[in-house]
Amino acid sequence: MAFTTISGREIAPLYTPADIATLDYARDLADPGAFPYTRGIHPTGYSGKLWTMRQFAGFGTPEETNARYKQLLAAGGTGLSVAFDLPTLMGRDPDHELSLGEVGKCGVNVTSLADMEVLFDGIDLGAVTTSMTINSPASMLLAMYLVVAEKQGVSWNALSGTIQNDILKEFIAQKEYIYPPRPSMRLVTDTFAFCTERVPRWNSISVSGYHIREAGATAAQELAFTLRDGIEYVQYGIEAGLDVDTFAPRISFFFNAHSDFFEEIAKYRAARRIWAHVMRDRFKASNPRSWQLRFHTQTAGVSLTAQQPYNNVVRTALQAMAGVMGGTQSLHTNSLDEALSLPTAEGATLALRTQQIIAYETGVTAEADPLGGSYFVERLTADLEAEALAYFDAIDRMGGMVAAIERGYPQKEIAESAYRFQQAVERRDQVIVGVNEFVEDDDERIGTLYIDETAADRQMARLERVRAQRDSAAVARTLDALQEAGRSDANTMPALLDAVRAYATIGEMCDALRVVWGEYEEVPVI
């Protein structure tokens, strides 16, 4: 029986030169560092510079998360990555009705500048790079980060990091949106324009396939929808009056590393080739840095099992290896306990050690694009590219990604794939070790992180102190100015910075714009 990947792709038992007969080395592959970058964006692969080991972390209060960051940096982590809780992601203060039970649970709670100051206390923002997984209120959290840097005396020119800022995949997959698509896109292009001018080393977006894949997409759908989202952002940036070569080099990507080893590696290679052509041929970018697709990778959270949790260490290591052999610029490895809770300190350390073993003990870093030229991998790369381009055509015909989202197209495609996968698991066509095969009656239990309610109480207390101590006239004035910026065509970033400096809360800033733009509600479909 033919092997079928999680994405439903049938794999032939043998690939031969006939499978890559039309492949032209100079045109389709080229050496690493040369267009179309199929083999990587750096001529020397990892022998020049390893990937950044960036472990996503955040829970409870800013104090607790600050301690975790210091632990990860001390253990040899090379960048920070902030996980925010749901109230922060959704632009709600901890005392809002919908924040009940959610404060500090899925990440750290950041309500105002006062929290951000604690989160980065004792960490030199000029010396670390920080990625912030924040989307709808991305510009507000960026403003908080910039003001903390200001207070530390660090120039914005010296800051380096990323805001995820990818609202399209929120509508498609993760569903943490606030405003309707079009005003949401305007917030994104405001950050493009602001960062290009004022924070030149900041990556103003991380176009994310990770969540699309976690929601059930196939590898080809992850590739297609992510890159088509990237096209949409570039298009909107150009329409907002920006020169493509000023902001395109600061666009980065974020992909999943799932369990189908070769298909994943092919996916990253195809992504680089497609993006290089899109930027050069579709958008006429002339700066080679605009053509180069840089990406972060995270191993597949959805592949982790609550049953036999130690197996997750092995899954994660193999997935991480795919990300590395696909040439990722940075990597997060999941902890073994993440189907059960947020990671414990021990779990997070073991996940980081997994990356260090790959980097320093396996030798896979010695060679750039070690699978380049494999009949199998080159054929997979070409097939994935063709499938993505077919999706581009379909979405272009609908009038672009925003229009496709408004009619629910990518959402439905992903839901179909998710259901097909679950049926394959039920039929045991798709084996999951410890879940539908090799099951043990009594799974070994591991220690998990339990976040109690005191985090919410402490955050509520700080919020009350902030409200009592700040200049409420300044808050009202800056929020009015923000609303005014939202109504006009002015860039919202300067108004946001003023509101942040006055210690306006995330709920207050988001509400100011909710009044102007309204809120998005998805039509629920099964």
Binding site: L86, G101, Q174, E214, A418, Q422
Partner: protein, 137 residues
């Protein structure tokens, strides 16, 4: 005649938007012959109980991954009692720490489904435990 189909309200309470599980289960229950109403995202306990009342639901299925279950579930159970919906069965799927499972059982949530549960187990549980629509005539 009352339709003998089991009526299930699938709801996603709280701020979380990860709806893969809720939607997959909704489809599986529908394919198993149940009448499924999916509320969509960001439902308060009040909205969920009101949907159960309006839809004459036999079962409420909650999907919670964010850790907010110990706030949301007791509130739903209290509201159900207040509305006199004593025989509506509540089941939950998601990431539920071991220590919380006895507490949820104590307030009357007996169907607790953790990651990796086969869809068929959930279908079987609901068939076995939902109130009978025929007998209630």
């Amino acid at each position: 005649m009352t339709d003998p189909k089991i009526r299930v309200v699938i709801a996603k309470p709280g701020l979380d938007g990860h709806d893969r599980g809720a939607r997959v289960i909704a489809r599986a229950l529908r394919d198993a012959g149940m009448e499924v109403i999916y509320t969509g995202l960001r439902q308060t306990p009040e909205m969920i109980v009101s949907a159960a009342l309006q839809e004459d639901a036999d079962v409420i299925g909650l999907s919670i991954l964010s850790g907010a279950h110990m706030h949301i579930c007791p509130r739903i159970m209290t509201l159900l009692k207040e509305k006199g919906l004593h025989d509506v069965r509540v089941v939950i799927g998601g990431i539920i720490p071991d220590v919380d499972i006895p507490k949820l059982r104590e307030i009357g949530i007996t169907g607790i489904f953790l990651p990796g549960t086969p869809m068929q187990d959930i279908v079987d549980f609901i068939r076995k435990n939902a109130r009978s629509r025929v007998e209630s005539l």
